[in-house]
């Protein structure tokens, strides 16, 4: 299906027809899980993965205290005292900070306070997260207030209802307007909620729509719907990013979110990015993991590489 959307007065853009073969995509995605990343390359990959984390808490029961705790962890992933135990290892590099904290708008002020003086970004979900089923003016207000509170990254959701109904122009316009609302103050990530789009063809179409509308990043999921991020769906989006770069010269970022819980998975995602988009994308500027429990598993594996044994869980703080 070919889709044309209007970009403004008299200007139109056509989303190219690019069907996706489900079986072949699954097969290709699973080929990355056969990569065996060991030793020095494992340490390197884990450190990079830590730098790419959007440390997330998106629960109805979030409190300022919880958010501050999380920010503390983001600043100081592993205490210097603990790190001292491994400094002599030849591959040791200081454990990096995470890229970003991702919270609800009301929690942004607390995150801002707790992260003052660092270069850790603050992302806020907005636009009536997670469903996106609210009037447009409320979505814009949602975004503006999050930015006012101090967010410099906005994770918006698309209106999946409109998308599935075939109202692509509505979806497109909403992203354009949210992008305008972000001005130059915030970076825009567009959540497609692939678990609700279901087919790869639709994921591909939604990815292109979002990129053409001005997304800086495209993101798989809210984390509230199953399945969340999977390797095949991420691969489809990475391929869309690759083709879009070819078409426009713009490098769009990718953020799989939800369901990435252990180091092995994270490393396989990095292999997939490396072999699909190349090393240019292996930076927090263009690739992020939306995750919470992933961080501690990365640390566990990192220290296993340094010391040759697993640490008891309590060495790393929960948040």
């Amino acid at each position: 299906m070919q889709v044309t959307v209007s970009k403004g007065v008299g200007e139109k853009t056509t989303i190219p027809y690019s069907p996706i073969d489900m079986m072949a995509t699954n097969e290709r995605a699973s080929s990355f899980t056969k990569r065996s990343i060991k030793k020095a390359s494992k340490v390197q990959a884990i450190n990079t993965a830590i730098e790419m984390i959007d440390l997330t808490t998106l629960e109805g029961m979030d409190t300022p205290g919880k958010v501050k705790q999380l920010c503390g962890k983001a600043r100081n992933v592993v205490s210097p005292e603990t790190q001292k135990q491994f400094m002599d290892h030849p591959q040791y590099t200081p454990v990096p900070q995470v890229a970003c904290i991702c919270v609800y708008p009301n929690m942004v002020p607390y995150a801002k306070e707790a992260l003052a003086g660092t270069n850790i970004n603050i992302a806020s979900v907005a636009t009536a997260f997670p469903s996106g089923l609210s009037p447009m003016e409320i979505k814009i207000k949602d975004v503006k207030s999050a930015i006012k509170y101090g967010a410099n990254e906005i994770d918006m959701v698309i209106d999946r209802g409109a998308f599935l109904e075939g109202k692509f122009q509505k979806v497109f316009d909403e992203i354009v307007k949210i992008k305008e609302a972000c001005e130059d103050k915030a970076h825009l990530k567009v959540i497609l909620e692939t678990g609700e789009l279901r087919s790869f063809d639709k994921v591909r179409l939604a990815s292109w729509l979002a990129m053409e509308a001005g997304a800086d990043f495209i993101k798989t999921s809210t984390g509230k719907v199953q399945p969340a991020a999977t390797m095949p769906v991420t691969l489809v989006m990475l391929q869309a990013i690759s083709d879009y770069y070819e078409y426009s010269g713009k490098k769009i970022g990718m953020k799989p979110a939800g369901g990435i819980r252990n180091s092995k998975q994270a490393i396989h995602y990095l292999c997939m990015v490396n072999e699909t988009l190349g090393p240019d994308w292996l930076t927090p500027d263009l690739f992020r993991f939306g995750a919470s429990s992933l961080l501690n598993d990365l640390l566990k594996q990192l220290f296993k590489e340094y010391t040759g044994r697993y640490y008891y869980e309590d060495l790393f703080s929960l948040d």
């Binding site: 996706i20 073969d21 990569r35 065996s36 970076h187």
Partner: protein
Amino acid sequence: MKAKIEKKNKKIPIKLIKSSKKTSGIKKKTKKAAKKVTKKVTKKVAKKNTIKAVTTTKVIQAANVKTTKNTTKTKTKSVKKGMIFNYAPAPESTKVEIQSKYNLYIGGEFVSPRTKKYIPCVNPANQKEISQIAVAGKEDVNIAVENARSAYENTWSKLTGTERAKYLFRIARIIQERSRELAVLETLDSGKPIKESRDVDMPLVAQHFFYYAGWADKLDYLIPGQEVESIGVCAQIIPWNFPLMMAAWKIAPALAAGNTVVLKPAEQTSLTALRLAEIFSEAKLPPGVVNIITGEGETGAHLAEHHDVNKIAFTGSTDIGKLILRNVSNTGKKLTMELGGKSAHLIFADAAIDSAIEGVINGIFFNQGHVCCAGSRLLVEESIKDVVIKKLKRRINQIRIGDPLDKNTDLGAINSKEQLEKIKMLVELGKKEGGEFWEREGSVPKTGNFFNPIIFWDQSGSCTLSKTEVFGPVLSIMTFRTTEEAIQKANDTNYGLAAGIWSEKGSKIHHVAAKLKAGVIWANTYNKFDAASPFGGFKESGFGREGGRMGMFPYVEVK
């Protein structure tokens, strides 16, 4: 534009910081560590570049921390460079017992050859000798066939199908149990990547034994309303590209039908077949039911010409196939042949391009292109030619070539020095015939038989590479404008083993598939094998089918 300017400006302070010697103790340490890390990792990529990249990232990190107070967050973000991600070697452990010398497997035991001759087995990845195999002469072949005959008359043909099935199931289970050992041995001996021998070859080997074990007691239902019986002694000659898999494809249906076997593996790759002999003994298969004789072409010729052989099954080159055909005329021997190919791989403009690219990669680079059904002729609809070539190049550059035992290796070593020379010769010929070509960027290991993948396009259909089977990682790309032209060009070959079609339009796939003259046709996938699916070719690609119910037919007489 804005972002670009920012980046440029941003680079200046980094350089300044880098050149000033204000590094603290810890920082020095990290620099050193980083260098060490990268040294270990960077074998294939230019060392200088990587070290530079890694160290700058470290310095940038430090710079960010220092300057955050004055700069806004969005600005500091845009400086990070991507990680150069080199996969450290991840070799499969090679603790597999290999004897220094292997004898012939005749009558259930290993016996030394009457010729007293042995030839070396070489690991194609490093040219080192791994072991030696016996060369069977005429006398040895006679003894092997005699043993097979006596086992056929006295034991195997007299067993019930259920009993034969028990042995086959047992063999299949042992293969599964020892699959890691077999995979490592296969990779050492043939140069194919461990990823393939582990995930493709060995599972299929076991599957073939399981599948045909199932047929052994159901022969009454093989052809409805017909009775069938076994043939006798089968001479089986197999190639070096899938050593153990070819052995399984041949031996399993022969035994299920009640025949006995003399198998001659290729001289380049006999070790896994000999390991299979050990497995037969472990499974207590009656002596003489399967005999494995090693040696060069001459051994094969003796076997094929032996008067007491009832059937010849041959997989290999078309030239040798023709020779065997001539030699067995005027004898009562039954024949099946699975020969060469120059299979067409069609991509229509309405295909899922990225998936089609994966299909092409799998089609021509699987097992270094040593696949009789390799999709070596790529036919692309003219309107998408440029994008296909562009994507193909990018994807080919991602192929990892190196130690076949490394779990991350995608393309292993060319099976033998002779084959490498043959590929080089054909490629040189191809280069002279006009058109364009492109070789994978980056080098291949110097020691061992490695060959960098190469693609050709804009050549005419009469060129060497469009006609001749290369049996290596060499792809020839041609274009078509209409479906009719695609079919015509696909069929314009003396071979007819396999074909692949990429299109998202189901009706088109069926229309084209019906008109292609090939024994195996894949739609939106390539190189998929299954024990239940018949495999074999049209025209000079051979006759007879292996796999599935069809695979039993060559091993039975219909009553």
